[in-house]
Subunit: 294 residues, 2 copies
């Protein structure tokens, strides 16, 4: 069973108000569609935590830069609706761009500091687009809980900061990265990869896995932990945007050695397709690769 | 009768939720305290339109620039509480700065274009401070209606834009400027004026009144309408920051002649005390000066 998406703000607002009035907690999962099992895990988590689950499908134009893949970002509304119904969403909000950004709109939400490095450094304005659209969605849906994937770790941190600062009464839940059995982090952009690129893309999770192993055997030097990831990726002939060990809260670079935890993030490019991945050293424990195939 | 102000976000949120649950509309009037009859008119208007009225008293640090009068901005909590009770407020929210801007907060709400001219040009960052704090208050209070004075006409326009853009389900009401009988627009900063300065400050409303008369007799040239205000103010030996005819919606300068309506704004300085005033030509009809004293 699939269901009909709702495209106007007023209907979503009304349905959520009705749910709250019945005493239900409203859960929210924002997506850009082209859904995979990672997204569905977010819906299942929201389902577990609330009585009325809204998922949004919106390829948000303001979070794409001029040279980025907005136009060719994958879209598959019918498939998405079927998947969301099966995962237990109660309502799907799939608005047009003009419903969210009507003519004359002039407001942006900006989070400083957390957005300076990593993706923010390479994608100027990206996070302003993210926080602006999420703030709008929070004001429309009024969720008690919203679930985001930890693959976009920086996005999760930035959205959590924004929600606290703008006093939205919502719990922001970060869900563990969902991976293919061979370790590749699920991403809507994976479908762009050729079979050869997909094989070489395993160098990201394998590199992170090696760093995790090294960390668990006692290595604390941030540069050494980054190096093992870089080596894995470069050996697969993949273009590296960055490999960076940062504080898990402030996201500022770790200069010397890791004390308790560190976010180890990687971004690279296959032509114009960017992939990101990460691991939290000192927190994530299971190996990223479920079954080694070597 | 005065009442006890509430200083924490959670208590205000809870009270407003309770009111909504009882089916009451929540009205909101944000102030910086040091209240006068102009503020009370806003509370009366909110009272007329809603069942539960929250007024806030918060001298918002982020809307003051480095050289501005944050530290010496007038504060009179006891007097304010008495006035708000008499005007019919149900709750007064008077938080500390740390309740609204806790350590680590990093989010600002920015409205472009509308903030470029007039006060925005002279007070860089001012409107980011305004829209940020109003967005926080809207998220806390969740009002159906919020009332702002039209003396801060640009603030009203910017807040209205922000509320629409961030999808807050709130009607933003602009209340007519409340004036002393001799025409001076009421302002918390009027108490800074010496008797001589107060006399000379009448040149603002008298200049605007002259422009209004000129407009009603058929003058449409924006420069001529501005000129009569400037002449009035300069004759009173007052330092002019700007006198500007702008579109009432976009706030962009009117280059040639006024078609239907125009916002005629003025700002000037008495030492470090700034006063602003305005009239909407083609809309405001009554003379600004109730009883001429000449």
């Amino acid at each position: 069973m699939a269901f009909h998406p709702v495209s106007d703000v007023a209907s979503v607002r009304e349905a959520c108000e009705r749910a709250r009035f019945k005493g239900q907690r409203v859960g929210f999962v924002p997506t850009m569609g082209a859904l995979h099992a990672g997204h569905l895990a977010l819906v299942v988590e929201a389902r577990r935590r609330s009585g009325f689950v809204v998922a949004s499908i919106f390829v948000n134009p303001t979070q794409f830069g001029p040279g980025e893949d907005f136009a060719r970002y994958p879209r598959d509304l019918d498939g998405d609706l079927r998947m969301l119904a099966s995962a237990g969403a109660d309502m799907v909000f799939a608005p047009d761009a003009l419903e969210i950004y009507p003519p004359g709109e002039k407001t942006r939400v900006h989070v400083s500091s957390l957005t300076a490095g990593l993706e923010g450094a390479l994608r100027p304005g990206h996070f302003d687009g993210v926080t602006t659209v999420v703030a709008k969605f929070f004001a429309i849906v009024g969720p008690c809980v919203a679930v985001f994937g930890r693959k976009d770790y920086q996005q999760l941190a930035v959205v959590r900061r924004m929600a606290r600062d703008l006093m939205f009464p919502v719990d922001i839940i970060g869900h563990a990265i969902v991976r293919d059995p061979d370790g590749l982090a699920m991403s809507s952009r994976n479908r762009y990869l050729s079979p050869d690129e997909r094989r070489r893309a395993l160098s990201l999770s394998r590199g992170l896995d090696s760093a995790l192993g090294l960390f668990e055997r006692g290595e604390r030097d941030a540069r050494a932990l980054e190096r093992v990831v870089i080596e894995s990726i470069v050996a697969a002939h993949v273009d590296v945007d960055y490999v960076k060990a940062t504080d898990t809260e402030s996201l500022s670079p770790i200069l010397g050695s890791v004390s308790t935890t560190a976010l180890l993030s990687v971004a690279c490019r296959f032509g114009s397709t960017r992939l990101i991945d990460n691991v939290v050293l000192g927190e994530d424990r299971a190996p990223l690769v479920a079954a080694r195939e070597t």
